[in-house]
């Protein structure tokens, strides 16, 4: 049973290599098998963790001080469920999007390797292995951006510099931890790190590197051009899944490794950066000229809510995780629709969207549904995530967050309606709907409906998240 954790990483890794080496129908077969197998392994792992609690896997039979552990607790299982769910649906979208396209050649090996890297990051119990996974995610994500060529090349190079600097800062933090206790295992580090200044410097370095990679304001400058210039399936993956990887690692080391060193001032600083991100990202989304740019800036804003969990603590942790899942689903749906808009209309200029809902009725329906979750209207995953954050803020009388969350909600409504309103106006002049295509209409609809369905499945998710008590205490 414990081997499900190894399959979750191994299957996409092998499929990625085969997608690079093979040609023709055999290649398509192995890509499909890889996606299906990785999703099935992830589902099995999530079921095991939900039923039996956290589990460790000693690779090669070597235990922790010598060997490298894989560890699956509720938090890992939750993010693996998100990865497999969004990943499988976006893969279906990409299969249609890249059909008969040269760009797809680069997409599949990169995407499947990225999948393996993200799952490796979620499952590792070792600080150094987390660095290896971060680099794997970084290089494949940059590849996904740069594969589009043109303006994406500049954005890709900037993304590469940022992601490399971020992981090397993290690596420097790992080196300091090793210098202090002589181990890179997370559990050993948690027990061994005393109240020394070295541990604080290590936490500061790692946090700075990971915040840079998560695109937290004011270190978000690289995200909008990278996400807006990539091909639509790549944007959906980058915005929905990749930034969750570095955020997960930050949450993991904050709660598991540095729980004694994470002081209130650093937490408060991260919360304030989160508030600034919500305001700045939303404002930029409101004035954006292109749909993809708008959706990318909205990611900058939504990352802000995730950071509010650091100062709030307690119930805000599962709230922020739930919010991350809702954002992953809704954002992937929006980028998928943005890709369909760009393909069908030949542009994604918001000023020229008049009557576009007549051309792509299902697409704009999915966009609006995803918008419901992104804004945080009930019933949706976004609403419940914000509700948990708000009630934690009310419990601790944090006026700043109590004010910032509704303000961000209002601004989110502003930018979502900026796309919906012109698309629904002038419908009479609109051309007839373009023919129904399964790959284009179904994935965003399924993703958006799943974001809404999260609004009805809070209690199983909370039970899963409490497995192994990833947030300390009784979970």
């Amino acid at each position: 049973m414990a081997w499900a954790a190894a399959w979750v990483i191994a299957i996409p890794c092998v499929a990625g290599a085969l997608a690079f080496a093979l040609r023709g129908a055999l290649r398509g077969l192995f890509i499909a098998l890889g996606v299906a197998g990785a999703t099935a392994a992830a589902a099995a792992l999530v079921v095991f963790v939900a039923r039996d609690g956290a589990r460790d896997l000693a690779l090669g039979g070597w235990l922790a001080p010598l060997g490298i552990r894989l560890r699956a607790d509720g938090l890992s299982a939750f993010f693996i469920a998100l990865q497999a769910g969004v990943g499988a649906i976006v893969s279906g979208y990409a299969a249609g999007y890249f059909a008969g396209d040269r760009e797809g050649k680069a997409f599949w090996p990169l995407w499947l390797t990225l999948w393996a890297g993200l799952c490796g990051l979620y499952l590792t119990g070792d600080l150094f292995n987390a660095y290896v996974a971060l680099e794997l995610i970084g290089v494949t994500a940059v590849g996904l951006v740069a594969a589009s060529g043109g303006a994406a090349l500049v954005a890709g190079l900037r993304y590469l510099i940022v992601t490399l600097t971020g992981s090397l800062l993290y690596l420097a933090g790992v080196a300091l931890v090793y210098a202090e206790i002589g181990a890179v295992d997370m559990e050993a580090a948690a027990q061994g790190l005393g109240p020394s200044p070295v541990a604080h410097v290590a936490l500061a370095l790692m946090a700075a590197g990971l915040l840079l990679k998560t695109a937290v304001f004011p270190m978000h400058f690289w995200l909008p051009p990278a996400h807006a210039n990539a091909a639509a399936p790549a944007s959906a993956i980058l915005s929905g899944l990749v930034i969750k990887g570095s955020f997960y690692l930050l949450v993991r080391i904050w709660n598991d490794v540095f729980s004694a060193h994470a002081d209130d001032m650093l937490a408060e600083l991260m919360g304030v950066l989160g508030v600034a991100a919500v305001i700045w990202g939303s404002a930029q989304a409101i004035v954006a000229a292109r749909v993809k740019m708008l959706v990318a800036y909205s990611t900058v804003a939504q990352v802000g809510y995730l950071l509010m969990a650091f100062p709030l603590g307690g119930d805000a942790w599962p709230g922020a995780m739930y919010f991350a899942a809702a954002h992953g689903l809704a954002k992937a749906a929006m980028f998928a629709v943005a890709g369909a808009i760009a393909r069908e209309l030949g542009h994604d200029d918001i000023a020229k969207l008049g009557g576009a809902a007549g051309t792509l009725p299902a697409g704009f329906f999915a966009f609006a549904l995803a918008g419901v979750s992104l804004i945080g209207l009930p019933p949706s995953g976004g609403f419940l995530g914000k509700w948990l954050l708000l009630s934690a803020a009310a419990d601790h009388d944090h006026m700043l967050y109590l004010a910032a969350i509704p303000a961000g909600t209002l601004m989110a409504a502003g930018y979502v309606f900026r796309v919906i309103a012109p698309a629904l106006a002038e419908l009479r002049r609109a051309p007839r709907p373009s023919p129904w295509r399964l790959w284009r209409e179904a994935p965003p609809l399924v993703l958006a409906l799943a974001a809404l369905a999260l609004g009805f499945s809070l209690s199983p998710a909370l039970v899963l998240l409490s497995r192994g008590a990833p947030f300390g205490g009784g979970g």
Partner: protein
């Protein structure tokens, strides 16, 4: 020796950041290279510097032992860093051929 290596790590980090902030994209590659070497040297120094001792425990009292783990970690990090810098070189080469300049400002503006 450890002090000397620590100073060297500091010097390399600062040189790397200086290079990363320059306008030329080629300097940027050198900055990334130095940054990755600085982090590697830091991991290497973190294990404690030993000269001439075997990396194995022989249970001989009073005999020094070198720590093999940082060397394995550095080896992994060197390979990853090398691959990433190679990738960056290809990206920069494509950009510079397309834009006919290595000035970051001009590339961003166009």
């Amino acid at each position: 020796m450890t002090l000397l290596l620590s100073l060297l790590v500091g010097a390399m980090f600062s040189a790397a950041i200086y290079l990363l902030l320059r306008r030329s994209v080629v300097d940027l590659i050198f900055g990334l290279l130095l940054l990755s070497h600085a982090a590697n040297l830091l991991v290497f120094t973190a294990g404690g510097v030993q000269y001439g001792s075997p990396p194995l425990v022989w249970h001989v009292a009073g005999e020094d032992m070198a720590d093999p783990l940082p060397q394995a970690l550095v080896l992994t990090a060197i390979v990853i860093g090398f691959a990433l810098v190679a990738f960056a070189v290809v990206l920069v080469a494509r950009l510079c051929t397309a834009e006919k300049t290595d000035d970051a400002e001009e590339i961003t503006r166009s």
